[in-house]
Symmetry: C2
Subunit: 270 residues, 2 copies
DNA sequence: CCATCTTTGTGCACGCGTTCACAAAGACAT
DNA sequence: ATGTCTTTGTGAACGCGTGCACAAAGATGG
C-alpha cells in the first residue's frame, strides 16, 4: 500500500476502528460497481471477494456501522452504498485546494478520481508566477499569495500538497494557519502539524522500496543461500570509530557516486 | 497513509516485521538528509523526530537489523545509510516498467523519486498506438504488444500499473506471466495475483475519503452533538424489503442533492 | 405453521505491533 | 583507573486487529 499514517489519534473515532475506516472506501468502490450493474443484493462472501478482503472481516467492519444486512439474503447494495457514503462523509461536498502544480500536481488535478466522490477541486495554487493563470484541468492556477483568501472564501478544510519536499512544511503551515485541518501530502517529507490536524502521506518512492525489499528476499531464497551478500546475520558493530572525524563517509560507500550500475562494494568497515 | 497492502504473506520476512520494513525507507530518507549535511552521528531520539516516529519504536526496528549504534553516542549516519540500503535491496539496480502512460503515468515517469534510489525506468508501455514513440521523461513509449519481450530482455521484476481500472487486471496478468513478481498498482481496482507475487496499491481517492471521514467527525464534534444526523447509534435494519425491486435507492436518501449543509435527513427506511 | 437452509452478527482466542521502563554498554571527565 | 552520564538494546505488558467458529435470525419451501 502506498499510504502511511502520520500523527493519527489512534483512538477509534466514534467506535469505528481506524483499520475499518481505511477499508470502507474499498467496500464502497466494490458496491458502486455492483450498483452500476444493477445488482440488488450481495452476500458478505461475494462482496469480500470483490473488495479483496476476508468475509469475516467485512462482516465485522459492517457491524461497527450498524445492523444492515439481512440474514439468509445478504446486503442491499443501494442501501449499503448510501450508509457507507454517509459514514465517510461523502454525502456532502468537500472543496479541496491543491498546492504545487508541477508534473504530479497537474496529473492529480486531471485525475478523475478526485472529483468523482464528493470532492471538488476549488483551486490550484502554485508559487511559480509563470504558472499563474495557466489552465490545468480546466482551472486557472492561482498564485500562492492568495492561499489564505482562497481557503477562506471557499470554506476549504482539505488540502493536497504536491510541492517539492523543501516547500512542503512551509505550505503546510500556511494551510493549517488558514484553517485547513486535513492534509494529503505527496511531498517526500515528514510534516509536523498541531493536534487536531490529520495528515496522510503518499510516497511513491517508499512503496517501491518496500517492494524491493520483498523482491530481494525472493531472489535470495531462490539462489540457494538465505540471502546473497546480505546474509551476514550479525554485522560487525561500528565499534571504535567515534571521534575519528567525519572520515566515516570515506570508508562505507566507495565514494559519493558509486559505479554506473549503482551497486555498492560488499566491503564493510572493520 | 495512501497505501494499502494486498495479499501480503503477513509472515515476517527473515525475522523483520512487515511494519518495520515499511518504516525503513522513512529512516533512510531522514538519514540521507543528515548525510548530506555531513552529520556524523545521530541519537535515536533525534532520528526518530526527523522520521516522525517514536524513538523506542525506532530502536526496536533497528534491533531487528542488528546491533548497529554505539551506546552513549548514537548511530553512525553513513554506516546506517548503507545498512538500511542493503537491507532494502537498494544497493542493486532495479529495472522497472511502467504500463499506462496517461496523465498519472507520465507524471510518475517524470517524478525524480523513482530513479533516485536504485530504481531505473527500463521502459514505458502504453496500449494507445498514438502514444507509441512519443518521448516521455526522455524515454520513448513502447507498444504493449512488446511487453513480454521488454520484461524478458531487461530482467524486469517490478512493474508499475497506471492504466485505467478496466485494463489493470489484464495488464497485471500479462506482467505476472512475463515474470514480474512485484507490482505497484495505481489503478483503482483490486488485483488478484498468484502466490509469491507482491502487490502494493496507491489509491488517491481512497486517501481523500479517509480524510473526509475524520474531517466530518471533527466538524460534527464542534457543532455540539457527538454527531449531527449521523448519530442514530443503531440504525433500523433493512428488514422487509427484499424482492421490493430496486426501489431501494428511492427511500434511503431524501433526494439526489440534500440540504445546503450537505447533511442527510435522519429518516431511515422502516 | 413447521422444517430446513442460507447468511449474518459476534464472542473468543491468537498474534502482531507498540510502548514503557530499565539494565547493560560504552564514552567522557577527573 | 574509576565514577558519572548518556544512550542503546530489549524484556515484558498492553492493546488492537484478525480470523475462527457458531448461534441467532430470517428466508424459503412444503
Amino acid at each position: 500500500m502506498a499510504t502511511g499514517r502520520t500523527h493519527r489519534p489512534a483512538t477509534r473515532s466514534r467506535g469505528i476502528p481506524e483499520a475499518t475506516v481505511a477499508r470502507l472506501p474499498l467496500y464502497l468502490r466494490a458496491l458502486t460497481a455492483l450498483s452500476e450493474r444493477s445488482v440488488p443484493t450481495v452476500s458478505s462472501e461475494e462482496l469480500a471477494a470483490a473488495a479483496g478482503v476476508n468475509s469475516a472481516k467485512l462482516r465485522k467492519d459492517f457491524s461497527y456501522l450498524g445492523s444492515y444486512g439481512t440474514r439468509g439474503v445478504g446486503y442491499d447494495v443501494e442501501y449499503l452504498v448510501y450508509q457507507i457514503s454517509r459514514e465517510l462523509g461523502l454525502t456532502q461536498d468537500w472543496p479541496i485546494v491543491m498546492v504545487g502544480i508541477g508534473n504530479l500536481g497537474a496529473a492529480l488535478a486531471n485525475y478523475g478520481g478526485f472529483a468523482s466522490r464528493g470532492f471538488r477541486v476549488a483551486a490550484l495554487i502554485d508559487a511559480d508566477p509563470a504558472m499563474v493563470g495557466k489552465p490545468v484541468a480546466g482551472i486557472a492556477v492561482q498564485f500562492i499569495d492568495d492561499l489564505e483568501r482562497i481557503i477562506d472564501e471557499n470554506g476549504v478544510s482539505i488540502g493536497v500538497i504536491a510541492t517539492p519536499a523543501g516547500a512542503a512544511q512551509q505550505v503546510c503551515d500556511r494551510l493549517v494557519a488558514a484553517g485547513v485541518t486535513s492534509i494529503l501530502n505527496f511531498a517526500p517529507t515528514v510534516l509536523s502539524v498541531p493536534d487536531g490536524v490529520d495528515v496522510r502521506k503518499v510516497d511513491l518512492s517508499i512503496e517501491l522500496q518496500i517492494l524491493a525489499f520483498h523482491e530481494q528476499r525472493k531472489a535470495g531464497e531462490e539462489n540457494g543461500a538465505p540471502a546473497p551478500a546480505a546474509a551476514a546475520p550479525v554485522a560487525p558493530p561500528v565499534a571504535a570509530r567515534t571521534a575519528a572525524a567525519p572520515a566515516a563517509p570515506a570508508d562505507a560507500p566507495g565514494d559519493g557516486r558509486n559505479g554506473p550500475d549503482g551497486d555498492m562494494p560488499a566491503v564493510m568497515p572493520a
